[in-house]
Amino acid sequence: MLNYNSTIIEAKEYSDIKISEVEPTLKINLRGKNRDFVTKIGKELSIILPTDPNTSSGNKELNLLWLSPDEWLIYSNDKNNLETINSSEDKLFNDISKTKLGSVTNVTDHWIMINLKGPKIFDMLSAGCPFNFNKFKYSKGAVTQTLLNHVDVIIHNKDINNLNLFVRRSFSNHLWLWMNDSARFV
């Protein structure tokens, strides 16, 4: 059997900051422009596609993040097994891409999801992120695509002092070390 390998081994806890990897989780990149695409996605997922920039929508299982006027990221709240991920992708691909409504791309392993919790997480982020979190901090569901220590990341505000951060897999180890280094000095 092929073995599953994660890039990050263990969760880390500091005073007021907890960092942990949440994998494997389903992640699908959606792209499309027309009205039929938007309607179809809404029906398939029972979630309305967010159209306001840097917002999100979701339900108990899934989140839909706005990335650009024609691009969204779906990700699951909880860890998934491979079958669920494959069947979700296949169904969406057949219903959206094959019908020429838009594109559906599995990015489950493209992104690594890291959960950040605790009252000091924004201080830690400010060591390497130029984004202004003053309002974002209090806006549940807000999304931003920014840089953290020069690395592209997507940050989703799940709840007060509870963020999900997405980083490309190849950068994840480096960013993980950097976050742990920064957490020391908060």
């Binding site: 094959k98 594109s103 990015v107 392993d109 493209h110 950068f171 480096h174 950097w178 920064s182």
Partner: protein, 1001 residues
């Protein structure tokens, strides 16, 4: 410590906690709250260092960041020593060690001081002049000039301290915690604005906080007491962040500012462990209020640089704030009222003031009246014409000014003193305002440059805006802040302010002397030793622009950036050249305001965080198997896998032989991968690549070249048709992000009509590439269900497959010329798949190979690497790849440029193969190629782009670009190297298996 130099009536120094420190090896004592400068003065040490050019003894001159003279080498560890730190800015801590700079063997006896006597021989721009004439003499001068260049010593070891960066966003940033800044910050924060107040000192309050004088009262309290209460209320205000020991370094466009916070420099050494030393704040402020105050000016007269000559207001701070007497018999020399504040403070603290020498006619402002009441003697309309004393001032010479102030008259009075306070008026600190792009205006009445126009959302308030009297500072700061923030704060309405206002103003940039100018040394720039004479010489030699004079004389070019000297240089130039100062302009104020450490600039981006690293899913396997890594962009790619003590050459020879003879395995995960979907995907590829894509069948792969708009090769890779409207494109490792950006740009701006969507999946897939005659056998073991016959699965095609129920894509493509497969699997299973393939290949001695072997193998086949064999000037035709350009397509990116007269020239540099006459000689990449070695000048016809020793051919091979190379096959040419000339012959670019038999072997 000389007991009699320290008074005990102060509130800022904790005289119960004594601190020991060393200066020039001698153990001394100070108190908590002292700066190194105040502690040295309390120990009666004035001689701190030697000047740059003439090695004249120099002492402490100021109490702040503008200090030009008292710069020291700080730090007890030679590896960590920090040069050019200002004694006035170093907070005293237990164990501090500092030493004098620019002197040898010691500050008391310095050989270099002989320069002072040779000064007529080393005029302004002496060192530029040595370049000019006589030409041969430069060789003689160079050694001495280089030896004497620079100040201080650099540390020799890496910095052990920790630094970091922080981003900060606020509504209002207030720079400067003096009385104006405090009023502004309080107003902003109380009106619900997220406010940050920064100050470079350890305490807020500026100069007002030690101003306890009858002439300056607010609501009947001394101004210091009123301000102290204001500061106490700040703690209870929400929305207000106060950062002390924080210097604003730079003010850039769009209110982006950099500030350096000192976090541990004031702590005892044992309290600093594992803490951040300095933090660089990157601030984005919606609004900026600059309240940086003003600097006192010196006066320019003969020998105004001796230790013991101190700015008058600094003497006041040393006595009122630090409780330190700068001398026992102090004289003062001024052109304005502020020296009288000093005189009164000294007198109240029991220091005898010899006299105040004032260049003005008698004036009777409140403060002068108060000084006279205390019995302080004043020499009206007089000037100090000379000072005496070598290592410390011992006396001054005073003379009367003539009626027109151009000369001195009457009897010379000699007055003994051990300290001379000088005050030449005040210069608003407009540095930050001008850094931000603001334009200045000139106020003639007191010769100051003031903030005028700015494009940014900012204001300057207080004395940096030209308000120098207490009542105007407070009133205007309140009005300006309210207006700027659009608020109506009435906390400061109806304040009753008493203030002594200056009535009589007068300024002489270069004071007259009883000696001819050439016989005097009136210093302008104390750190760079340039005098008023140097500036005048520059003008005589034809320099008119202030920027030229600055560089010619080095005035204002020292580590203090001429904070004290620039105004006088301007004044003297204006007077001498008879132009108005306002029209002359100023030199450019550049960031940082005070020097920054490299550590603060770099932050945590040192060591493992120097640059970002990207790892493939198989990284740990490579590391475990002894791989050496190569940086490709930010990726760490396995370069070669040495066994035991193999050199790179030996390892690469072994790896490449194995790949051709049996089987090799390569981690190709770093290639860029772009998922393309949409009904116009085929049309999109037609426009992006030079070749045709419409007829590519589902399940087939095709190689494509991508050009820039200029027709030059930009990137290449294999694209596979996965479905009717679905492709996966691969790009070069380094080009991935740029290619995606460019294609997305085209879709959004040039071809919005196309129904195409791109998604990067570079990191989603791990790619294992297996090549060699046994590759098919290995793949059949890993994926037994896959039909690998040439008919079912031919070269340049792809199949979906399952390995242990995990989906993967298998492409039969080759970059080595061997029979070869690439398996793409989602990254989480990449390492495990690699191990499985390795296990399956063991019976065939499967050999992991790195990028170096990959480069060799492809060069044997004449395959290019975009970026190595191309350099942004190569068209496909230059690469002899004419076959890849479709003649039928209407258009593709770069098509038009391929038919420009320059791109169709025959004699462009073209890609060729090169063989050395001696098969064992390997050419150097980058080496030049020539046809004739005798003719001068030698014409460079081309250069080597790739070069290797091929174990499979048992000879050296190379690719090169050569002018008109296509037509030169068989031509003998030369590669001249340092020690020998190598004979080469131009050949075809394909060295191995021209018939492509191995692909299907």
């Amino acid at each position: 410590m000389s007991r009699n130099l320290r008074i005990t009536n102060n509130k800022f120094i904790d005289q119960t906690s004594r601190i020991s420190f060393k200066f020039d090896g001698k153990t001394l004592y100070g108190f908590k709250g002292d700066t190194l400068a105040s502690a040295l003065l309390a120990n009666d040490i004035h001689l701190i260092g030697r000047s740059f050019k003439y090695h004249r003894p120099r002492g402490i001159m100021t109490c702040g960041s503008e200090e030009p003279n008292a710069i020291v080498q700080a730090g007890n560890d030679a590896s960590m020593t920090e040069p050019n730190t200002r004694a006035t800015e170093i907070e005293l801590y237990e164990g501090l060690e500092a030493s004098s700079q620019n002197c040898w063997p010691s500050v008391n006896f310095d050989i270099g001081a002989i320069n002072n006597f040779f000064s007529p021989l080393i005029p302004a721009a002496f060192y530029y002049k040595t370049f000019m004439w006589p030409a041969n003499f430069w060789k003689l001068y160079e050694y001495f000039i280089r030896k004497s260049a620079g100040l201080g010593k650099s540390p020799t070891q890496p910095d052990k301290d920790i630094y970091d960066h922080r981003y900060l966003h606020c509504d209002v940033l207030v720079v400067g915690g003096g009385i104006s800044g405090i009023i502004a910050a309080k107003t902003a924060a109380k009106n619900n604005l997220n406010t940050v107040l920064i100050d470079d000192k350890n305490n807020l309050g500026g100069t007002t906080i030690f101003q306890q004088n009858e002439c300056f009262k607010i609501n009947n309290s001394y101004s210091n007491e009123w301000l102290k209460k204001e500061i106490e209320t700040l703690n209870s205000i929400k929305n207000l962040t106060i950062k002390t020991r924080t210097t604003l370094a730079a003010y850039h466009s769009y209110n982006y500012l950099l500030a350096r916070e000192n976090l541990t420099d004031h702590l005892d050494l044992n309290e600093r462990k594992d803490k951040i030393r300095q933090r660089l704040w990157k601030i984005r402020a919606k609004k900026v209020i600059i309240a940086t105050g003003a600097m006192e000016r010196p006066l320019i007269f003969n020998n105004n640089d001796r230790p013991g000559v101190i700015l008058s207001y600094s003497i006041k701070k040393y006595i009122d704030y630090f409780g330190v007497k700068c001398g026992q018999k102090i004289s003062l020399f001024t052109n304005n009222d502020s020296a009288y504040e000093t005189a009164i403070s000294l007198s109240n603290s029991g220091v005898s003031v010899n006299s105040v020498v004032d260049i003005r006619d008698r004036t009777n402002s409140l403060i002068v009246q108060q000084a006279e009441k205390l019995g302080i003697k004043i020499h009206w309309k007089s000037a100090v014409v000379n000072t005496n004393g070598y290592k410390k001032i011992t006396s001054i010479e005073i003379m009367k000014l003539s009626d027109d102030d151009t000369t001195v008259v009457g009897k010379k009075i000699k007055q003994e003193c051990d300290c001379l306070g000088i005050s030449g008026g005040w210069t608003p600190r407009v540095h930050l305002f001008t850094q931000s792009g603001g334009k200045l205006k000139f106020r003639d009445e007191d010769n100051v440059f003031l903030p005028d126009k700015s494009e940014l959302d900012q204001i300057s308030i207080g004395s940096c805006n030209g308000d120098f009297e207490l009542d105007s500072v407070v009133k205007n700061s309140v009005i300006s802040t309210n207006k700027f923030l659009k608020v109506n704060n009435n906390d400061y309405e109806n304040l009753k302010i008493n203030s002594s206002n200056e009535i009589n103003k007068k300024n002489i940039w270069l004071l007259p002397s009883n000696k001819p100018l050439g016989k005097t040394k009136p210093f302008l720039d104390f750190q760079n030793d340039s005098t008023a004479n140097d500036v005048k010489l520059a003008l005589r030699e034809g320099f008119k622009s202030i920027e030229h004079v600055k560089r010619y004389t080095t005035t204002g070019m020292a580590t203090d950036q001429g904070k004290l000297s620039n105004m006088h240089a301007l004044g003297i130039i204006a007077e001498t050249a008879d132009v108005k100062m306002g029209e002359l302009g100023t030199t450019t104020f550049r960031p940082p305001y005070t020097p920054l450490t490299f550590g603060a600039i770099v932050g945590r981006n040192v060591g493992e965080f120097f640059d970002i690293t990207r790892r493939t899913p198989m990284h740990d396997w490579h590391a475990k198997h002894n791989a050496e890594f190569e940086n490709v962009g930010q990726w760490k790619r396995a370069w070669y896998y040495p066994i035991e003590n193999e050199s790179i050459h030996e390892a690469v020879q072994r790896e490449s032989k194995a790949a051709r003879d049996s089987a090799g395995i390569l981690d190709a995960s770093t290639l860029g991968k772009i998922d393309i979907q949409g009904s116009d995907a085929s049309e999109f590829l037609n426009r992006v690549y030079t070749n045709a894509w419409s007829k590519l069948e589902i399940g087939k792969c095709r190689y494509g070249l991508m050009l820039n708009e200029d027709g030059m090769v930009y990137d290449d890779g294999v694209t596979t048709r996965l479905g009717e409207n679905h492709y996966i494109m691969t790009t070069t490792t380094g080009g991935a992000a740029n290619v995606l950006g460019k294609l997305e740009d085209y879709l959004q701006t040039e071809w919005p009509e196309l129904d195409v969507y791109l998604t990067s999946v570079t990191d989603h897939y791990a790619t294992v590439s297996i090549c060699g005659p046994n590759s098919k056998k290995i793949i059949s073991k890993v994926i037994p269900d896959l039909n690998l016959s040439d008919k079912e699965f031919p070269h340049m095609s792809f199949r979906n497959a399952l390995i242990d129920n995990i989906k993967c894509r298998v492409m039969r493509i080759s970059f080595t010329g061997e029979h070869s497969y690439e398996i793409n699997i989602q990254s989480s299973y990449g390492k495990s798949l690699w191990e499985k393939c390795f296990e399956a290949g063991k019976e065939f001695d499967i050999t992991p190979y790195g990028t170096e072997t990959m480069h060799l193998l492809r060069a044997e086949k004449g395959f290019i690497i975009a970026g190595q064999d191309t350099d942004g000037t190569m068209t496909p035709v230059d690469l002899q790849m004419d076959w890849i350009i479709s003649k039928k397509k209407y258009d593709f990116i770069g098509k038009r440029s391929l038919y420009r007269s320059d791109t169709i020239r025959d004699d462009r540099k073209q890609l060729v193969g090169l063989l050395t006459d001696d098969p064992n000689v390997v050419l150097e990449e980058g080496a030049q190629i020539v046809l004739e070695t005798k003719k001068q000048p030698i014409e460079m016809l081309g250069h080597v782009t790739s070069s290797y020793f091929s174990p499979n051919l048992n000879k050296s091979i190379a690719l090169a670009v050569v002018k008109n190379g296509k037509k030169l096959k068989g031509q003998k040419m030369f590669v001249p190297m340092k020690n020998k000339t190598i004979n080469v012959t131009i050949t075809d670019t394909v060295f191995l298996d021209k018939e492509n038999k191995r692909l299907n072997a």
